[in-house]
Every structure is written in structure tokens, then in C-alpha cells.
Symmetry: C2
Subunit: 336 residues, 2 copies
């Protein structure tokens, strides 16, 4: 095999049966509010702590996704999930009551792409008829884990991003009549750009996104302009500009069809979000709401979704290690 | 589908092409020392910190596994990996230099079973010819993350276990002449026994292991005595006794063919390990060394390996949440 990795063509076209999004109050004040399934006036979602609030959001997104698909939780043969909390506890506690087979993932903010990619391969393998994948993040839980508790009132740097409070679930199935399907996937390669600034994760992840895009377009007959949308996960304003610059160096011209979920989710002018949105929840809820709506209304037919993740930990940052990035690619298409 | 989950029969019999184990000094003083591939006289493995030592062990185990298989790193089409460190950084930093497609997993101490299960399904799917899976843990890194830094000199409770310093890698392939293959797998269901004592994780995980065994034997024609070995991951002395008791309640009689990697890896009399070994590295290095040696020398032909994981975090313990467990089953068999 060459060093490009292999684009995995999913011959059985695993369908996206349903998608659900649950978000916090700030996300509901943003431009995509009409597309989300559920929000809460309380950032704690009725739970005692922010971490448990995130689990509650995971549970809600999962429940909404099975209601939308008109199935029961027992119809899900396997649940995939992962998040940013230490030891991915948002998923473990959020899904414990469902009593279904579970496989934990860790892809940092690329989790939605990683989950969709694996769900689609598993359904395509014929071993599973229906697999769910879910992820989440919570602004307050992330701030206290990765930076400082909100109560400290720390000033944020201009390149810092706002972790999205949100949870998303997708159900991938070969047993439904959805027109939207996963066409191809390409797993990411860990890429270290040498960035050490934990407040500039867009820059740390941009290199991984370009690596994946370059490997995709080198092995594929498609060109960037062939897609209705090319969407990265959470590079934010800073990271997506860096992406466009370094993509151009390897002759990938990203034009007006290029978007980043971190730029789409908030209104930069009126919301105090610095360099945009981030976190596992960012791409999860944008994809599960706005992008799925465009697909359902036949406004788009072919999309490249590149979930981006920064593989750091608070400990690795304190030990002054650089921040490796990863970017998994999922091509989502619509029939007819 | 019923609530049992489905045993996944891998019709193409994905082969275990090679397995590698790298361990610390305490593991080399134990009864399995002759089976391990590599150790180091320094628990830091030449690195600056314990966390980076774990990454170095991951890199070494990966490199040994490809040398044993007589292939290059580029022959691995996909690497799966996960560990106990916050944000699974042992794998990210350990595998960053390999430059191969990577998917991060999180199954706590069940990671080796989770990785073997997924690798086998992915190879069986026909989309990959060769997938590696790796995991690791480091005693000192785990103590400081989950309990207290070693320098505090805390006294350990009798039911506490000793996190194994070790890294293991398996290569699963449909492109080799190995006689050892993955026969069936069964993903675990998150099971909450209500145990809240982070120093008694064997008890927290025993319920998940029984759940998986019960689902397996209910859906299979096999009986416990049909296997040469039934091996749990890291229940330790306390947890494996609890397992035997509650398994008997659901009519699963675990006899002399039942083992636990946490009991096998250390000598209880001479090594100060309280309730035995634990951590992702525990089942990984025991399986990759001793068990694979028994297979290669035709002393065993059919084994049930049940990787056990406690899905806690230091934060969830401080918030007084219980510790959910999970147990993934992998049936490994030998032809001829």
C-alpha cells in the first residue's frame, strides 16, 4: 500500500436514517437556531453538574434520533460514542440506561466524523443492520477540564474558540428508505504541525485537514468544485483561513463551497465567540441539523465532511508537547 | 432484535498475524517474564515523563509487531488504538511517527478486546487487509491521573489493583499464514452495578463480564467447559471471585479453565500487588505474550477472551457517581 491510505467506497450505500441535535442557550441564540431539535433554558439541563448535563444531552439526542427513525432503542444493534470529557464519561453515563451494545471511540473533536465513518463501514460489512453514533461537548465542562473553571473569569485569547454546548446522534442503517447515504470514507493520519498553543487549536488541526483532503483528491476523480459543500468540523475563523492557505500550496483551491461548522454555528458580530465554535458537539449539531435539512430539502446532493480533532490533553500541554491533529473524511450523498 | 446483542461470526476467520508486548520492571519480575518481547531497566523508557514513557512503549510494541510480521509500517492499512491517559495521548504521541491512518478508541481497560474485535470486523468486511490495534497503561502515569502521584506515598486499600506498565499491539490480517484467528466477537453493554469505590474496580467490572458471558452462552451452542481457557481482562483476585459467584447465579459454572490476566501477571506472594494487575496494558501484554505462546505451541485451541473496562474518570468519582463497567468478548481459535 502507498502512504495515501485507501478511500473506502461503501458499496451498499449505508443510509442516514435519522439525526438529532440538542444544544445549549448560546447555540440557540445563533443563526442555526431554527434547525436544532431541542434546547434547554438551563445550561445544566436539570442535572447537578455540567458534566452530568452533557450526559443528559447525550441521552436526549439518542432518544430523539430513535423517535425520528420510528424505532426502539433495542433496534439499534450497536451504539458508537465518544467525547472530550476525561475517559469519555458523557457517553458512558448518557447511554448506560439504553442497555444496548456499545463501543467507545476517541477522536477528539473529529468524533462525529469518526463515528459516522465506522458506523457506515460496520453497516456495510453486513454484520449490523443499524448502528448509532453519538458525541457531545459542553462549554463549561470543557473550560474547566482543558483551561480554567468559568468562575475564574479568565480572559480568552483572540484565536481561542468557544466549545459548543451540544450533543448529536446519527443512526446509520441499511434498513430504511432514506435518500441520504454515506458514499465514501477516508480515515485520518495523525499530523503534527508543531503548534503548541492550546488556544489556537484551529491552527493545530488545519494541517491534518489538508493532509486528508490532499490524500482524497489525489486518489479520487473528484475535484473540490464538484461538491455542493466541503465542510470542516471546527477549525474556526483562524484555522479555516490557515487551511485555505496551505491547501492552495498543494493545489487544492477551496472556493465558495467551503464552510467550517465552527464559523456557521455562531454569529461572529453579535456573539462573543472569538475565533468561532469548537468541540465534538460543534460539527455534530451543525451536521445533524442545518446540513441534514439542506439534504432533506434537496438543496445539496454531495458533500465532503472532514471532522477535525486536536489530540491534546491538559497534561500534554503542561509538558509542553505539541498538539497533533487528525481529520477523518466522510462523503455524504443524496440519491434522486 | 432481542436485548442480547448478536454474536458476530467472522466468516473469513481474520488471522492474528503477530502480537507484541513491552513491559516495565515489575512485570519482568513476575511469573510471565520469559514471554514478554521487551522491557527496560528504567520505568521512564528513556523519556522525560511517565506519560511520554507510555508513548514510547506504544511505539516499541507497534514496531516489534510489524517486525514479527515481516512487514513495513505502510503495510498496516489502519491502526486502532486507545488507552487510559486523558484524551488517549499515549497512542496519539506513540503512533504519530508511523504516518498511517488511525482511529482512536476508548474502552478503558477493555481496550485490547475492543481493538481486536473491531480490527477483526474491519478485516472481515473486506475493506482492509491488515489492521493493527494497540493499547497501553503505565503504573506511575495512572496513579497520578486516577489516584495520587507516587511521591505522596499513599497507602493502598486491600482491594486496589496494580496498574500494569505495559503496551501491546496485535496485527489482524487476511493476508498471512497464521493458524490463530478471531472466530467470534460480542460487543459489551454498559452495566452499572452501583459500585462507587474506585479502589475496587474488579467489583465494578464483574457485572459487565457476567452480562457478556450470559449473553454469549445463551445465544451460542458452546458451554464454558468447551473452551481451553476463559480469560477475563483485569478483574483481579477480588473481582474474579465476585465474577465466579454471580456467574453461578445465572448458571454459568466457571471451572478450572477460568483465568484472569490480573491474577496471571504478578506473583501474589512475593510481589506487593494487593488484588492483582489492572489497566489496559494488563490484558494486552498477557494475551500478546503468554496466551499467544500457548496458541503457537498448540497447547490451546479455543479461548474466550473477555476484556473488562471500568468507565470512570477522576471527575465522575469526585462527583460520587457509580462506576459503569463494560466487557467485550473475543473468541480466538486455532486451526489444525
Amino acid at each position: 500500500m502507498n502512504k495515501l491510505g485507501k478511500i473506502i467506497k461503501l458499496n451498499s450505500c449505508p443510509k442516514i436514517e435519522s439525526a438529532a441535535s440538542v444544544v445549549g442557550t448560546k447555540e440557540m441564540q445563533g443563526p442555526l437556531s431554527e434547525y436544532f431539535d431541542l434546547s434547554h433554558t438551563d445550561e445544566r439541563f436539570g442535572a447537578k453538574t455540567y458534566e452530568q448535563a452533557e450526559s443528559e444531552m447525550v441521552r436526549m439526542a439518542f432518544e430523539i434520533s430513535i423517535k425520528k427513525a420510528k424505532i426502539n432503542n433495542g433496534d439499534i444493534e450497536l451504539a458508537l460514542g465518544g467525547d472530550l470529557q476525561n475517559q469519555c464519561t458523557a457517553q458512558s453515563f448518557g447511554l448506560v440506561t439504553e442497555k444496548i451494545p456499545y463501543i467507545g471511540l476517541y477522536g477528539a473533536c473529529s468524533n462525529m466524523a469518526e463515528g459516522l465513518m465506522l458506523s457506515s463501514i460496520l453497516v456495510d460489512s453486513g454484520h449490523f443492520r443499524r448502528v448509532s453514533c453519538s458525541t457531545s461537548s459542553h462549554f463549561a465542562a470543557s473550560e474547566r477540564q482543558f483551561r480554567f473553571p468559568l468562575e475564574y473569569g479568565c480572559q480568552r485569547t483572540p484565536t481561542s474558540q468557544n466549545t459548543v454546548t451540544g450533543a448529536g446522534t446519527f443512526i446509520v442503517s441499511n434498513n430504511c428508505d432514506s435518500k441520504i447515504y454515506v458514499n465514501e470514507v477516508l480515515p485520518g493520519i495523525i499530523t503534527d504541525m508543531g503548534v503548541k498553543d492550546a488556544n489556537n487549536m484551529g491552527a493545530a488541526m488545519a494541517g491534518a485537514a489538508v493532509d486528508t483532503l490532499e490524500r482524497y483528491f489525489t486518489s479520487s476523480d473528484m475535484k473540490p468544485e464538484d461538491f455542493d459543500m466541503i465542510i470542516t468540523g471546527d477549525l474556526g475563523y483562524e484555522g479555516s483561513e490557515i487551511l485555505k492557505e496551505i491547501a492552495a500550496v498543494v493545489n487544492i483551491k477551496l472556493g465558495k463551497n467551503y464552510y467550517d461548522c465552527g464559523n456557521l454555528i455562531y454569529d461572529r458580530e453579535s456573539q462573543d465567540v472569538h475565533s468561532g465554535g469548537s468541540g465534538c458537539g460543534c460539527s455534530a449539531v451543525v451536521l445533524a441539523s442545518y446540513i441534514m435539512d439542506l439534504f432533506e430539502n434537496n438543496k445539496i446532493k454531495d458533500v465532503l465532511f472532514i471532522g477535525t480533532g486536536a489530540l491534546l490533553s491538559p497534561g500534554s500541554v503542561l509538558q509542553r508537547l505539541s498538539i497533533p491533529g487528525i481529520a477523518h473524511l466522510v462523503r455524504i450523498s443524496r440519491e434522486g
